[in-house]
């Protein structure tokens, strides 16, 4: 029996390996089996109308149309697929030429090899050529591993994936994991496969086994994006905090959770205020979007816009946000400034930069350059008097002059030129101010004083 089986296989070897011969099956009428014309002939006659309706120019070009306008197509899908177009590729391509007889296709079982004598190496070779191979007969662990190693050595991603799918199905998880731990390429392949197909649970188990704890954490955290319901998302994030992130990342996840928690409270509260219609700020500036899932800085801006005066105790107050999330001064001031400027609350802007020292004297300072303050105020169309205050505070003289001139803060220009004792520029600036205005008078008096000294 063994001998005859061997004979059958060796014959099959010869017969089956039609990879290199372009065997084309042809029907009795001469058309290549599986070609468009053949299928059309076999199935319906309505195709004749479409062919007849063809452009005469087409008919000129192709002799076959002239002779047989309805029947013969000089092209067949199968010949295209076989690679008449790519002669060179066929030499190197791994997929062999399959037979093209869709209606006459032999049952799938006939494609499978019957013998149990294909070695793992040969099996892999055949799979690389696109043949369907049953892997079921590789029963022992040893065989399976050899098969996997051969697949990896062949570099063909499809084959590696096919073998991994088979192993995933037929091996106990612990064994599969253990074996993959020492086979990097196959391991990476499986991880990629699990990610693509969304087999989250198995992926996490695998990563945990490999002690790739941070990846487990990140992979799990990624899932939160698929949760649309805010409450459920909040709960999910709470669980994520305990995951094995790095210390830095843990604090970020913690912040994410805390932020969402706050946002849910603020959102519920503000929606209530809005519908009640009693709050002026919400009436004047109706909200365009919900605060849920917005970044921290956006939330701070929102808070500075709608809840600026609230005491630190409430969740929606800016100072509470600043404290809870340790927002640096720079970021806080910039955000508060942008919000208050948008509301044209110039007094609030003033208060942001005013500090009282222990003697009760006030002075202005900012953790950001005053030129930035001016920029933001100008973008919000602050009146010149307000703008002027801050232009005056810009430290760098050249920048100060540029801004003052650009935004027509005449007093500042005049004062700066005076301090620089620049008579020429001062005189030149006279033409930029209105005739008879207070500014013109100011310039004149300064010029006169200069002469005296």
């Amino acid at each position: 029996l063994k001998e005859s089986k061997r004979a059958v296989n060796s014959l099959r070897d010869i017969v089956d390996d039609d990879d290199d011969d372009d065997l084309e099956r042809v029907s009795w009428s001469g058309e290549p089996v599986g070609s468009i014309s053949w299928s059309i002939k076999e199935t319906a006659s309505s195709s004749t109308s479409s062919l007849e309706g063809r452009d005469s120019s087409l008919q000129k070009g192709s002799s076959s149309y002239a002779a047989f306008p309805k029947q013969v197509s000089s092209y067949s899908l199968s010949s295209l697929f076989k690679g008449e177009l790519c002669l060179f590729f066929s030499v190197f391509s791994d997929t062999g030429v399959k037979n093209y007889a869709p209606e006459l296709r032999r049952p799938k079982t006939e494609y499978k090899d019957y013998s149990s004598d294909w070695s793992p190496k040969d099996t892999v070779r055949r799979m690389q050529r696109g043949k369907v191979c049953s892997l079921e007969r590789f029963r022992s662990l040893q065989d399976k591993l050899v098969l996997l190693d051969e697949a990896v050595a062949g570099h063909d991603g499809n084959v590696i994936t096919a073998v991994l799918i088979f192993l995933k199905r037929t091996l106990r998880r612990e064994i599969l994991f253990r074996e993959l731990e020492v086979r990097q390429v196959a391991l990476c392949h499986l991880i990629h496969f699990l990610k693509e197909t969304g087999e989250q649970k198995l992926l996490l188990d695998l990563l945990r086994f490999l002690d790739r704890t941070e990846e487990v954490a990140l992979s799990q955290y990624r899932e939160h994006l698929n949760i649309q319901d805010v409450e459920k998302r909040r709960e999910f994030l709470k669980v994520c905090i305990g995951l094995p992130f790095s210390a830095e990342d843990t604090s970020h996840i913690q912040d994410h959770y805390t932020l969402l928690e706050r946002q849910i409270i603020i959102e519920a509260n503000d929606r209530h205020l809005e519908t009640a219609g009693q709050s002026e700020i919400f009436r004047k500036y109706p909200r365009k979007a919900s605060i849920l899932n917005m970044p921290l800085v956006t939330t701070l801006f929102y808070s500075c816009f709608y809840h600026y005066t609230e005491a630190e105790g409430t969740f929606s107050s800016p100072t509470n946000l600043k404290k809870t999330f340790k927002i640096p001064d720079k970021q806080y001031v910039l955000t508060a400034l942008a919000a208050r400027a948008k509301l044209r609350a110039w007094d609030d802007v003033d208060a942001l930069f005013t500090t009282k020292n222990w003697l009760g004297y006030t002075k202005k300072k900012a953790p950001i350059g005053f030129h930035r303050v001016v920029e933001i105020l100008q973008r919000n169309n602050a009146p010149v008097q307000v703008l002027q205050e801050y232009v005056r505070l810009v430290e760098d003289v050249e920048t100060r002059l540029n801004l003052a001139t650009k935004y027509k803060c005449h007093d500042v220009v005049i004062e700066t030129y005076r301090d620089l004792k620049d008579r020429i520029q001062l005189t030149a600036y006279k033409c930029k101010v209105e005739r008879g205005s207070a500014e013109e008078e100011k310039i004149n008096s300064i010029l006169n004083n200069m002469v005296r000294n």
Partner: protein, 545 residues
């Protein structure tokens, strides 16, 4: 010719009306595309007659994963033919080939998935079948090593592939993208590079805002302003484009003005044509002159559009910071400009390019600096970006400094990556493409040709991955004897992506007198900093299906 009735772009929903028997899906093996195809197939009216047959052609290879997916959706059986079309390398120009595999970098460097390297090797085998076996292979990087190994193995397994074609290529240079992570991050300053940076060139086409391209009709003014973006094809078939594409943008203006004078003069000739013969000759030249004029008009408009951007304050500030980093200034502290941009919520990719550039130029950031940037980014753009930051760290783009020492200054000095005296108009060195910075990858190619990599052994060791040389046997009759003055031809294959600026730099080397080498460029994908970083960002919206 091939009886193709219509061609449609793949989209979900019902397939459009077409009186055909066969429908062929021509797709890359991506799962998202399988979902669209499933939708198309399921919505097909099975009652209609004649019934349409479905087939699927995967480019460049069939994917078991995709077929499995289709099987699970219950539509696999609907396909009569399931085949592959081995289109590995696509010619983009006379000296440029690309696989256009967007995920190659991410797969190779983040996921250790070498499928795209396999395709690269296949593509190279095809190339050798057409142009002859390449006798010398040099490489630097892990992926380069894999590709070379695969090529050698493939050659062994197909002994019949030994052909009798005279080799066109003398050398193949395989380079991993991660050997030079710096170059794609910097803003390109060549004409073509800037078009790509600002508008994005897709498959040699660019879509531009239409206002500047509206034909000025007499007396109509702005009545009929076009709303569709203007689509232009950009390749070397266009004479003017071939001339200006690789120049530094600052040198483009003078070329355009010279061209304008020539074309005007040519049109003036019509006044001088007196005899029938002269008029006939003028008329025969007319189409060429009209094409030249239209080409000039297009590129003048494009140059204007670009100039608006390059003269802006923000572009200047950004470029200044980039150049500071590349010349090694202040790469170890938090940068004010970057902080300001975050505070003003500039586009996240712009921020990421800058912080990654700083990290690469510092061989990794000090933990404090890195934490500071990360915190600001997460607080401003959202905590979910932790996932992207993690990817960037894995790719080596934004990471903590591990060894405590910064190798970049040594690399920069030895390879002369920063050149202070750049001549943008008449360059004498490849550093003109970034107005001062010479792309590291191209320098490696340049030094390989002359004087050879042995002179930079120490620096090569500082760059990731092995470097190697392989020789492939040529049958004795085919050994190339180079004539005096004949250039060597080197194929440079960038594994992970290449920028237009690098291509320009290699073309510059090709046309250098006494350069000795001409370059042909191949890559897995044509990229710029933005598209590259984007490919590494986590998809944050949940999948539509």
């Amino acid at each position: 010719e091939h009886e193709v009735e219509k061609m449609f772009t793949l989209k979900p929903g019902r397939l459009p009306q077409a009186d055909v028997k066969n429908i062929i899906f021509f797709v890359r093996p991506k799962l998202e595309l399988m979902d669209i195809i499933t939708d198309n197939v399921l919505r097909e009216d099975r009652g209609r007659s004649p019934q349409r047959d479905f087939h699927i052609l995967f480019v460049p290879r069939r994917s078991l994963l995709c077929e499995q997916w289709l099987k699970e959706q219950g539509v696999l059986g609907s396909f009569i033919h399931r085949e592959q079309y081995s289109l590995d390398l696509i010619p983009f120009d006379g000296d440029l080939l690309s696989m256009e595999s967007e995920s190659a970098f991410k797969e190779c460097y983040l996921e250790s998935d070498q499928t795209s390297l396999y395709h690269a090797a296949k593509g190279l085998m095809t190339l050798q079948a057409l142009y002859g076996t390449i006798p010398q292979i040099f490489g630097k990087g892990e992926c380069a090593r894999h590709v070379a190994n695969m090529m050698i193995r493939m050659k062994r397994e197909f002994p019949g592939s030994q052909n009798s074609i005279f080799p066109v290529f003398d050398t193949l240079l395989l380079l991993d993208r991660n050997v030079d992570l710096l170059t794609p991050l910097a803003t390109q300053l060549t004409y073509e590079g800037l078009i790509d940076e600002i508008y994005g060139i897709q498959n040699t086409y660019v879509k531009l805002p239409p206002e500047k391209f509206a034909p000025k009709k007499q007396g109509e003014g702005g009545k009929d302003l076009p709303t569709e973006p203007k689509k232009l094809q950009l390749n070397s078939a266009e004479e003017l484009y071939a001339e200006i594409r690789d120049k530094n943008f600052n040198a483009v203006g003078s070329v355009l003005s010279k061209k304008a004078k020539i074309i005007s003069a040519a049109f003036e000739e019509r006044h001088h044509a007196k005899t029938v013969g002269e008029i006939k000759q003028f008329v025969s030249q007319l189409p060429h002159m009209q094409a030249a004029r239209s080409s000039l008009a297009n590129h003048t408009s494009i140059a204007e559009l670009i100039k608006d951007i390059t003269t802006s304050e923000d572009f200047f500030d950004n470029l200044t910071v980039e150049q500071e980093f590349m010349s090694g200034i202040d790469t170890d502290k938090v940068n004010n400009y970057i902080e300001d941009c975050i505070a003003q919520k500039h586009p996240l990719i712009k921020i990421l390019r800058l912080v990654c550039l700083q990290s690469v130029c510092n061989s990794g950031l000090k933990q404090k600096v890195l934490d500071h940037y990360k915190r600001e980014i997460l607080q401003t753009y959202g905590y979910e970006h932790i996932l992207t930051l993690n990817n960037l760290e894995k790719a080596g783009l934004l990471k903590p400094q591990t060894s405590g020492r910064n190798n970049y200054p040594t690399i920069r000095k030895t390879l002369r990556l920063w050149m202070d005296d750049v001549n943008e108009q008449n360059p004498n060195d490849i550093s003109y493409v970034y107005s001062g910075y010479a792309p590291l990858s191209v320098r490696l190619a340049q030094l390989l040709a002359r004087p050879g990599w042995r002179s930079i052994e120490e620096v090569l060791k500082m760059l990731p991955g092995p470097h190697f040389e392989e020789r492939q046997q040529l049958p004795t009759g085919l050994q190339k004897k180079r004539q005096h003055g004949e250039n060597r031809v080197t194929l440079v294959f960038f594994l992970g992506g290449v920028t237009y600026a690098e291509i320009a730099a290699l073309r510059f080397l090709s046309q250098m007198e006494d350069g000795g080498t001409e370059y042909v460029i191949a890559t897995t994908k044509l990229i710029n900093g933005t598209s590259w970083i984007k490919s590494l960002m986590e998809k944050l919206e949940p999948a539509p299906f």
